[in-house]
């Protein structure tokens, strides 16, 4: 498993001579890491929900969009509002996620075809509801002034917001990893995936755990959506649907249900995209698909599946 993590530094080192200029390489790498972290944050919720509960939800993108709109609605130029806006988006998405699990997903547990159909339908309905509430027009999203701009280290340029995103992604990955492996809740979740009846027979209410996971997954999607909207500087109701392809690729490449795999896959895909954009721009848009094919030929269950 640790060897799989080594793919990331290996790719970075391999790219250095190909890019040639160390300053450009550093800029590309940090930008790739930031993009990858945002995809990881959005995809981590989906991989948790699928891996732990066996639910394939296409409506995940709706929570990405919803989170982005809630955060964007609350943002002000004051930097202190940024964490509050993101936390509010996460909280609102968590509540909606829990309701979604009870009302939409609960009746179709264990029925994958119905899950796909009903969650795709929910995605379409959610997108229209978002248009009703926030409108169909593109909306501009401004970063707080203190996070705008970049700074130089030698000849390398680093955008402030991207560094913040990398820090948030790393902290989140560490927190999720610890929560899953070092807490009783994490044990319950891992045990509940395998033998939910047995977990109940030990005296735990597994249904509450599953609702909590759905709420957490939705909150993470909302956080990722909020950060993505800030990164792009604009937002439409189709944001989540557009991100779903990348999110699914990352979840599959990482290995369904593997948080570590999702983390590596997200960073790998984004770094590969950035490096390819630099030395072979015409191939950049294909880089994720090529990554998907190569990984599935090498490891059909994904990097850590």
């Amino acid at each position: 498993m640790r060897k799989t993590y080594a793919i990331l530094p290996a790719l970075m080192l391999l790219a250095l001579p190909l890019v040639g200029n160390p300053a450009s390489w550093a800029t590309l790498t940090v930008a790739g890491l930031a993009m990858g972290m945002m995809t990881f944050i959005m995809a981590s919720g989906l991989t948790l929900i699928f891996g732990l509960m066996g639910v394939l939800t296409f409506a995940h993108g709706a929570f990405v969009t919803f989170g982005a709109f809630v955060a964007a609605s609350l943002l002000t130029p004051d930097l202190a509002m940024l964490p509050l806006a993101l936390l509010a988006a996460m909280a609102a998405a968590a509540v909606l996620g829990a309701l979604f699990e009870r009302v939409i997903v609960k009746p179709v547990y264990g029925q994958h075809t119905k899950q796909i159909l009903i969650t795709m339908g929910a995605m379409v309905v959610a997108e229209q509801l978002i248009i009703v509430v926030w409108g169909a027009d593109q909306r501009m999203v401004e970063l707080p002034p203190l996070l705008k701009g970049s700074f130089l280290v030698g000849d390398a340029t680093f955008e402030r917001f991207r560094l913040l995103v990398v820090a948030i992604g790393l902290a989140l990955y560490a927190a999720l990893h610890l929560a899953l492996n070092r807490t009783r809740l994490g044990l319950l979740v891992r045990a509940g995936v395998e033998h939910p009846e047995m977990v109940e027979a030990l005296g735990y209410r597994i249904k509450l755990v599953f609702i909590a996971i759905f709420a957490l997954g939705s909150a993470l999607a909302a956080l990722g959506g909020g950060l993505w909207a800030l990164y792009r500087g604009q937002l439409t109701a189709s944001l989540g649907a557009e991100r779903m392809i990348d999110i699914f690729i990352v979840v599959i490449v990482g290995g369904l249900g593997s948080l570590g795999g999702c983390f590596i896959a997200a960073l790998l895909a984004a770094l590969l995209f950035n490096y390819t954009s630099y030395f072979a721009p015409s191939l950049a848009s294909l880089s994720e698909v090529i990554l998907l094919i190569v990984v599935l030929l090498w490891r059909p269950r994904g990097l850590m599946g």
Partner: protein
């Protein structure tokens, strides 16, 4: 301690339990025997709330538990060892037992007792339980039920598929559990094991309890054994 009166259970269109009357007395081991398909496992699952009884009563320690959620029944003091063991293979042996110790950290004395009974669990303490052999998984499943004091332990075929040396370990484990004051209700196809552990016996046939009494009397009555257990007895003796 535990009393089922006229318990019925339907699973889909099938009427599996058809009025089960059964008692497990405090501090004793009650063996639940019967041919395949007689309803033994369904009885245990009905007690645990994994199947809802459609009629009748399931009382435990003076309280009606029929229809309660499984988690609530477990919290009332009932431990369950299912036939398929259901150890959490992604979790280590330690994590399996930590999860079973619901009320807090694992009691050291209790753990030493478990290690004394099942030394393999200490050897593989930090290993994923998916790597254990079938017998070791059964040890873990029993240890999980015994890691905290429980008022009633219900066990479904704990010796199934085990090597003879392992069966002796299992018998010893339940003997010690009984000495510690636990009440046990056990489904068992191995009549030698049932005979050596059981105080009481209930024999099921076609979704009902066809015979109840002391194990000593039942073990002495070969005609009754033959009538109630038939071929299933011959094949396991």
């Amino acid at each position: 301690m535990l009393e089922l009166k006229g318990a019925h259970t339907h699973i889909g269109p099938y009427h599996i339990l058809q009025g089960v009357d059964l008692t497990a007395e405090e501090g004793r081991i009650t063996m639940l025997l019967g041919r395949n398909g007689a309803g033994k496992t369904t009885t245990l699952r009905t007690i645990m709330g994994l199947w809802r009884p459609s009629a009748g009563s399931v009382r435990f320690a003076g309280r009606e538990i029929g229809g309660l959620a499984t988690a609530e029944i477990a919290r009332a003091g009932i431990a369950y060892v299912p036939e398929e063991m259901a150890v959490f293979s992604q979790l280590t042996v330690e994590e399996n037992l930590r999860l079973a110790a619901r009320s807090g950290p694992i009691d050291r004395q209790r753990l030493d007792w478990v290690f004394h009974l099942f030394p393999a669990l200490e050897t593989f303490w930090k290993k994923p339980s998916g790597l254990l052999s079938g017998g070791q998984k059964q040890m873990l499943a029993i240890a999980r039920a015994a890691i905290e004091p429980k008022r009633l332990v219900i066990v479904d075929e704990p010796t199934k598929g085990l090597a003879p040396s392992m069966i002796l370990h299992v018998i010893e484990a339940f003997r010690q559990l009984k000495q510690a004051g636990a009440t046990v209700l056990m489904v068992e196809q191995n009549f030698h094991c049932a005979k050596s552990l059981g105080d009481q016996v209930a024999v099921m046939d076609q979704g009902r309890v066809a015979h109840r009494g002391s194990m000593a009397d039942f073990a002495a009555d070969q005609a009754l054994q033959s009538r109630l257990l038939g071929l299933s007895l011959d094949s396991h003796q």
